[in-house]
Symmetry: C2
Subunit: 108 residues, 2 copies
């Protein structure tokens, strides 16, 4: 089985996290997971191809934002909220709050 790279908590970089969150599709994905909790990769309604989605998930995983757990043929996605909160207090939560407020203003 392919081992998916996840940075250790202490190797998560602030600039990499911000870069990973600086894309509208990725920030929506993260917001969806924040609301639902751990969730299979195939269950997100995103207006992009499967390969594009895989690329976004990889970017978020390699930056330390997402944890990807392989279960059979499924990839289960969850947020590394605790790791991020410990490393950069308030950063992820304030970004998610802002993204949620924007979404209320202009729903998909």
């Amino acid at each position: 089985m392919k081992i998916l790279y996840h940075p250790k908590k202490e190797d998560i970089h602030l600039t990499a996290v911000l870069a990973a969150l600086s894309d509208p599709i990725r920030i929506r994905l993260v917001l969806d997971i924040a609301k639902s909790g751990e969730r299979p990769c195939g269950t997100f309604e995103q207006p992009v191809a499967k390969s594009t989605m895989s690329h976004h998930v990889r970017t978020l995983r390699e930056a330390g934002v997402l944890n990807v757990r392989v279960q059979g043929t499924q990839h289960l996605l969850s947020l590394r909220s605790e790791d991020l909160e410990e490393r950069f207090p308030g950063v992820l939560s304030s970004i998610l709050k802002a993204a949620e407020a924007l979404e209320r203003e202009a729903p998909r």
Copy 2:
């Protein structure tokens, strides 16, 4: 005199702000300005060429993070903290706190 583009407060995008802050040089620059208040562009000690610095300042200005005020031959840089706080509460301040903590761990 050349008019420098600054987005209106309501046209500042969260993803553009995060992208602008996702670079180590730019985040240091923003941290320096947060500490010092408005400051001429030429007074920053950054290990980059003047043209690179101009590019970074432009990126931050166009994203709505910096205000650039032209006074004679000087460009005075300041943070748009109030605009950003109003648009995305807690985002800039938590990012700056995290960046400052990292800087204390590993000074330049």
